[in-house]
Subunit: 249 residues, 2 copies
DNA sequence: TCTTATTGTGTCATTTTGACGCAATAAAGG
DNA sequence: CCTTTATTGCGTCAAAATGACACAATAAGA
């Protein structure tokens, strides 16, 4: 979205991505700071006329993070007529975020498709702001800045969906480095759930899923006993994703 | 959608409802038969410019079934550029389903929001066809007629989502009559899952959820031992919906 | 009254879960 | 160099949930 040729885009339709990473035992989202404003936004974009909506989300993700082949999933369409602040677009114009030429386009009603992406924090080297923003940064989910429109709600919804999915889907691939320790995986779960888990029962349950492979090596350098390094068994991980993990019938 | 004033609608956006009912131990969907064609479609509609997308789905449901206050849930946005048959709209014109005046509107790219609704079969008294269809009927999920565009895929996706949700959400309210027997509830589960369940273990598990109330009465008139009639404890049912049933953490 | 299919209720072995104990580290401090 | 300390690997045990199945109590029809 560098040069904005509005004719290219499908009117009234946008995508917003909740890009989540895990760093220092915190869940973080990649956010954009609007130019000249104390407002932040989710990375988003418009959908080209000859572009699948899913593809548009992939493109947004690619443009901000430089990453391809990321776990990306549509989770909700936000279709309310009033998605927040009535004076929003006027504010953008006033602050010079958009010019008069874009005013009409932005003023129209938009519905937006929410996607969430799980990415490995360290692989995102230089997050790129877009045309309307001055920076692109990781922000901890606890303690978010002021978000524009209904973006806080979108983020909240993504978090909810993810939390629910923890109960019947594996998570961690694409969010943790290729090799990780059991305590690291547990920390991810605890952060997402917002509560502590018993270390020993957690390990038993995770191993029971059969999606982990214990490498022969340990993570050394830590202050205490060196934990084993694990990898995901991608074949079985994928099957877990497709079929579900705690299927009671 | 009786008089079609296209100015009223948000361009490029539609909703489609997978309206499911349960009758004679079969899962059925309410479908529309297109005028003069051997093609069927999901009940759908356009979104008014000042109407929430969710509200549009409610309206469609209301217009076809006459019912309000139904369990209705958005499950996916179908946003591919090519959602099926390229010659579809030309076919509609040729068969007289739409006039020339509507050709342009229909020819544009649409993304559609999929909703599924669970309704009590017997409460839908006279399903109403819309402007483009000649009848509105219940069709068994196994053995569907030929559906237009990607509607078969939409229906399939709804079924998938529902099946998955059986594992962590209660179901039956709005789909079964107010009072029902355990074998009836089990038949619903078996139909959705497409497999047989042990009668006794099923009952134990359902009762364990604590969302059922056993009324003092039995269903009489059957050929054999009269089963107890149950009702849902709506308070607890709703809590089950919100919090999930098989939450492992 | 007897037959037959269906429902209510319960048993039992197995598996899974929740709540802990204890020994083996690995760095840091004295 | 030996002790301290926090962390990890591995295991135990009772309680709860699950899967497989037995048996008695119907209710209509032969």
């Amino acid at each position: 979205m560098l040069a904005l040729n509005l004719d290219k885009y499908q009117p009234g339709l946008s995508v917003d991505c909740v890009i989540l990473g895990f760093h220092q035992n915190e869940l973080k989202a990649l956010l954009l700071k609007m130019k000249n404003m104390d407002k932040w936004s989710l990375p988003g974009g418009f959908v080209e006329k000859d572009e699948d909506v899913d593809k548009a989300a992939v493109r947004v993700l690619q443009e901000r993070t430089g990453l391809k082949n990321i776990f990306l999933r549509q989770f909700h369409l936000f279709g309310e007529v009033d998605r927040g602040d009535r004076g929003h677009v006027d504010g953008l114009l006033q602050k010079g975020v958009i010019g008069k030429d874009l005013y009409g386009w932005f003023k129209q009603r938009f519905v937006t498709v929410g996607y969430y992406a799980l990415v490995e924090y360290s692989q995102v080297e230089a997050p790129q702001p877009d045309y309307f923003s001055e920076s692109c940064e990781w922000c901890a989910i606890n303690g978010l800045p002021d978000l524009m429109l209904d973006h806080a709600g979108i983020l909240e919804k993504a978090h909810e969906v993810l939390k629910r999915q923890l109960n019947y889907q594996p998570i961690g691939l694409n969010l943790l480095p290729k090799r990780f320790t059991m305590p690291e995986l547990q920390a991810l779960y605890e952060t997402l759930l917002g509560k502590a888990l018993d270390r020993r029962n957690f390990q038993r349950k995770m191993l029971g899923y059969g999606i982990l492979i214990r490498t022969g090596e340990r993570r050394t350098g830590g202050a205490h006993k060196s934990p084993w390094l694990y990898e995901f068994d991608e074949e079985k991980y994928r099957r877990g994703l497709a079929e579900g993990l705690n299927v009671s019938w």
